[in-house]
């Protein structure tokens, strides 16, 4: 371990007392303190000083700031976009992180210490020593039913989520099912309503009770939220109307899996499985590869 560079030594090398991995020290402290608060109140949105990032707002600037505040030279970072490591955004962000922090990069889920993701949770089970960072465009779960931010905050403060329940009731009564596809609101520890980011329902059902921490960063709205390990996370549903995961018509054409989250190729940025007309494949590329190599 004595050969491994430390933050201090790297900074000293460059004659800098601050600034590591792109973010200045003050920003990192701000984000880390916000993350600590977020872990202390699971599901609660904590504001932070969101900085300008070389990524358009709404495209992961929040997740990126979370990762950059945590990463160190001994980390290995994986970045995926809808399960795919090789998308332009995912690749660019991974490069930025590894170049500025000196850490290693990987596409293999098992090797990563930090996994930053947009729109998916990796299907390979994560360990307690890994950290999952999710990119969140719209952190406020009540945004569709309560237009005013101040009023939404009051609802959270009183843990009164009647507007969300009402919206759900109306959907069930008039359409037979909730209309929300991705980003289905969840109740953390049974009390706090949170937006889990636009992950599919398949992943919403897998968010709870994980051995690792899950951090959610929203750069445009300047908030973070967090789920400590082994936190209960349940979708906001009536007791007699459970949330169902999306179903795919066919097994993955590459690995043959019938229980992975699959999408039809031909629709790059689609979450719902009805986009595109091509064959069905696993959305999580690394998981699919793993299954192919090790059936």
């Amino acid at each position: 371990m004595s050969d491994a560079p430390t933050v201090a030594s790297l900074a000293a090398e460059h004659g800098q007392s601050e600034a590591y991995a792109y973010l200045d020290e003050r920003t990192k402290r701000n984000v880390r303190r916000a993350l600590l608060k977020a872990l202390a109140i699971p599901g609660w949105q904590i504001p932070f000083d969101s900085r300008e990032m070389p990524v358009a707002r709404g495209w992961g600037s929040g997740g990126l700031q979370v990762t950059l505040s945590l990463v160190g030279p001994t980390d290995t970072v994986k970045v995926i976009d809808q399960g795919d490591d090789s998308s332009a955004n995912a690749s660019s962000m991974r490069s930025l992180i590894s170049r500025t922090s000196g850490c290693a990069e990987t596409t293999v889920t098992e090797e990563a210490t930090i996994i930053q993701s947009r729109h998916r949770i990796p299907e390979i089970p994560l360990r307690g020593d890994q950290v999952l960072v999710l990119q969140v465009p719209h952190p406020e779960p009540l945004r569709r039913v309560v237009t005013n931010d101040a009023v939404a905050l009051e609802h959270h403060a009183e843990r009164d989520y009647t507007p969300a329940w009402l919206d759900l009731y109306d959907d069930e009564a008039r359409h037979g099912a909730p209309r929300t596809g991705a980003d289905y609101p969840v109740l953390v520890e049974g009390t706090t309503l949170m937006s889990p980011s636009p992950i599919p329902r398949y992943d919403v059902l897998r968010l709870g009770n994980r051995p690792h921490a899950t951090l959610l960063g929203a750069g445009r709205r300047a908030r973070v939220a967090a789920l400590p390990p082994f936190t209960s996370v349940e979708p906001l549903v009536f007791d007699d109307r459970p949330l169902l995961a999306e179903s795919a018509a066919e097994p993955c054409i590459r690995c043959g899996s019938i229980d992975s989250y699959r999408v039809q190729s031909g629709g790059r940025y689609q979450l719902a499985a009805e986009a595109g007309n091509g064959p069905w494949c696993c959305s999580d590329v690394d998981a699919c590869r793993t299954r192919r190599n090790d059936p």
């Binding site: 009647t162 009402l166 009731y169 009564a173 008039r174 009536f238 007699d240």
Partner: protein, 306 residues
């Protein structure tokens, strides 16, 4: 009192069988039980106020606006009691202050003075529990304009009723649905309309939805603001029946404000007449409408279309 025939004896026996049980019951009391709602000295003015405001406004000055400082004395020193299951009617024309009085009772406007004690809640005007919570549980208003009542126009009628159940923690969809639909049906709304958005409902129907909502969690105090105004006559009659059914069931203290004397006569056990923000007459409907004492009441009664 000696029955002189077997027929009369039989009649006496059946009368006794129908008679109230021996022993003291509530109905056997000569005095009414303590009131559910007790308002004392409610006052509200709009403006800076001065020493002459009270003196120069009201009947004496024939105005609500103080000529000395321009303050409008909207409500001054209004007191009344309403018991459980009783209906108090408040009559007044536009500008009488009855709307402001309702605002005070619904905790929308703060009172400058006075108290409003509701059994089990204390003085609502001095309470430390947040107003929104109080309003939900203790005092419910049925508005002329359903949007003002906090109904969601784009959501289904049954959703608007279910909201009350969801708010109090009902987490079973089937149960919430069954109750909402039952209540709507009770208020005469056909099942085919239950999932229609509220904005497609006529005024009278929307009021029934409000009444159904009130039935979900019976409030202590029910306020009805001009329930029949603006409705077609045939709809008015039906709505009055619905209101009666609801007030009978709820056992709340009900306050109805209307400028229509016939509506008040039908619904109310007692009547207050408000003029320039003050109570000028307080009695039972027979007294107020058939033997009015105050000149303003006499004018109102005489102005009825018959």
């Amino acid at each position: 009192m000696n029955p002189t025939s077997t027929a009369q004896a039989a009649a006496a026996q059946s009368a006794a069988a129908h008679a109230p049980a021996a022993g003291p019951t509530a109905a056997a009391q000569v005095l009414p039980p303590p009131p559910l709602l007790s308002a004392r000295g409610l006052s509200r003015r709009f403006g800076p106020g001065c020493d002459l405001c009270i003196e120069l406004t009201g009947d004496a000055g024939a105005t609500s606006r103080c000529p000395a400082c321009g303050t409008v004395v909207a409500v001054h020193d209004v007191s009344f009691d309403v018991g459980a299951g009783e209906v108090l009617g408040i009559v007044g024309e536009s500008g009488s202050g009855k709307t402001t009085l309702l605002s005070l009772l619904h905790l929308d406007t703060p009172a400058d003075a006075g108290s409003m004690v509701v059994d089990g809640y204390g003085d609502l005007l001095r309470s430390r529990t947040s107003d929104a919570e109080l309003r939900r549980s203790a005092v419910v208003m049925v508005h002329q304009n359903s949007l003002a009542a906090g109904l969601a126009p784009r959501l289904a009628a049954e959703s608007n009723v279910a909201e009350r159940l969801l708010r109090t923690g009902c987490r079973s969809f089937a149960e919430a649905r069954a109750r909402s639909q039952d209540l709507l049906a009770e208020l005469g709304i056909h099942p085919s309309r239950h999932t229609d958005p509220l904005e497609t409902f006529s005024g009278g129907m929307a009021q029934r939805v409000q009444l159904a909502r009130a039935l979900v969690n019976p409030p202590r105090v029910l306020l009805l603001d001009e329930p029949t105004t603006g409705l077609d006559p045939s709809v008015q009659a039906d709505l009055l029946e619905s209101v009666q059914r609801v007030t009978d069931r709820l056992g709340s203290a009900t306050v109805v404000v209307s400028h229509d004397l016939e509506v008040i006569r039908i619904l109310a056990d007692r009547v207050l007449v408000i003029h320039f923000g003050r109570v000028v007459e307080d009695g039972i409907p027979e007294q107020v409408f058939d033997d009015p004492q105050h000149p303003y009441t006499q004018l109102l009664v005489a102005s009825r279309l018959r």
